[in-house]
């Protein structure tokens, strides 16, 4: 049978494509098929949230909660502020609540440092824009990160209205003085943020920042449980959230 070189090359190319396509389909279906072998937790609805009572937050032992989180989660201490990685930190009042600033604000609030972290929003913009699902919203409300899947596109950093996400511009390990071995460090090229101490919640513990706070100004609990402490506090005191007009529905409430 006479076959031209062009046709032979075309045929070989198509065959290779078919082989590769088959492999690709198998790869995708294999990965998609990985399913849970056990059911986690109880069937009760959980929506984790936090209330920070700024009246109790005296601003003196504030670094205790930040240091506790940094230590527990191997947050690199990067000297260059342009490249810092932060999960919980402090910002001046005017930058946390830009719509609340006025020339006549109570002076105790002007310039006052406010603790901020990922708000684990009910309708998070970061989750909507992530192309790979490296960040997603769990059923219990926590906006999680999967550092194995993150491609480092930084779209989530762009989409977050609260500046809560940090990108690892270089390998973070050299900037960790004392590695906590139970929790993984991260690698360069991925985005990270507060994870509401999901690893501790899985063991029934409270987040480290809540436990470490000497003023006991943070209340963490289940917003879906009407009898929880956090619901009692929210029901009896006036609280505000950051940039509520954007529709993200943050789950960190501040009692001013």
């Amino acid at each position: 049978m006479k076959i031209t070189r062009k046709d032979f090359l075309r045929l070989s190319g198509l065959s290779l494509l078919a082989l590769a396509g088959g492999k690709a389909v198998r790869a995708v279906t294999d990965l998609a098929g990985a399913s849970a072998t056990a059911v986690a937790g109880s069937a009760k609805t959980v929506r984790w949230g936090m209330v920070i009572d700024l009246g109790k937050w005296r601003g003196q032992g504030t670094d205790k909660c930040i240091k506790a989180c940094d230590a527990a989660h191997n947050i690199p201490q990067i000297p260059d502020p342009a490249r810092e990685v932060k999960w919980i930190w402090e910002q001046p009042f005017e930058t946390v609540f830009p719509s609340e600033q006025t020339d006549y604000t109570r002076q105790t609030y002007a310039g006052r440092p406010i603790p901020v972290m990922c708000n684990h929003c009910a309708d998070p913009a970061c989750v909507r824009v992530c192309p790979t699902g490296a960040t997603w919203k769990r059923e219990d409300g926590i906006v999680m990160m999967d550092w194995h899947r993150c491609i480092g596109c930084k779209y989530c950093v762009v989409a977050c209205p609260y500046g809560a996400r940090s990108f690892n511009f270089s390998d973070p390990v050299p900037y960790i003085a004392q590695v906590t071995p139970e929790f993984p460090t991260r690698s360069k090229g991925v985005v990270e943020k507060c994870n509401f101490c999901a690893e501790r919640l899985a063991q029934g513990k409270q987040p480290v920042c809540v436990e470490a706070c000497p003023d006991k100004s943070m209340i963490f609990g289940n917003l879906a449980d009407p009898n929880s402490e956090i619901r009692q506090v929210l029901g009896s005191r006036f609280s505000i959230r950051r940039k509520p007009e954007l529709g993200t529905q943050p789950n960190i409430f501040y009692i001013v």
Partner: protein
């Protein structure tokens, strides 16, 4: 005529060089050294049968990882019937395979597997193991 000698001679040299991996060990009387693994002293039982682990431990790791990280399922029933906390650092590396150089690296180096990024982040199993022993 000269070309024929050159062509066939060149082909022969090429074939010899090309099949070098196949004949040199047999010709020199040496054996390719199999990787010698230092099995973990602590645990006596693996989570799955050895042939499966040899062939597909990567698949098991990814399955456990997807379950633990993405589904939040941390208690996983392994093939050996026992239930394990699916943590790479605390369980796989912390309880059993604490020594990367004497266990993991032996086969990986032999097989030329270099793109593994696990230890970039899960990087202190010895410390975890040390914390465990009272």
């Amino acid at each position: 005529m000269r070309e024929r000698v050159l062509i066939f001679g060149g082909l022969a040299v090429f074939l010899i060089l090309f099949t070098y991996p196949l004949w040199h060990a047999a010709a020199l009387g040496t054996q390719a050294k199999q990787p010698q693994l230092q099995l973990p002293a602590q645990a006596k039982e693996c989570v799955a049968p050895l042939p499966y682990m040899r062939a597909a431990h990567m698949r098991l790791l990814i399955e456990w990882r997807e379950n633990a990280v993405r589904q939040g399922v941390r208690q996983i029933h392994a093939a050996n019937g026992k239930s394990y906390d699916a943590s790479l650092t605390r369980t796989c590396l912390g309880e059993c395979h604490t020594n990367k150089a004497e266990f993991c690296d032996r086969c990986h180096t032999y097989a030329g597997v270099s793109a593994l990024y696990c230890w970039d982040c899960h990087n202190k199993p010895q410390l975890v193991a040390a914390r465990r022993t009272p």
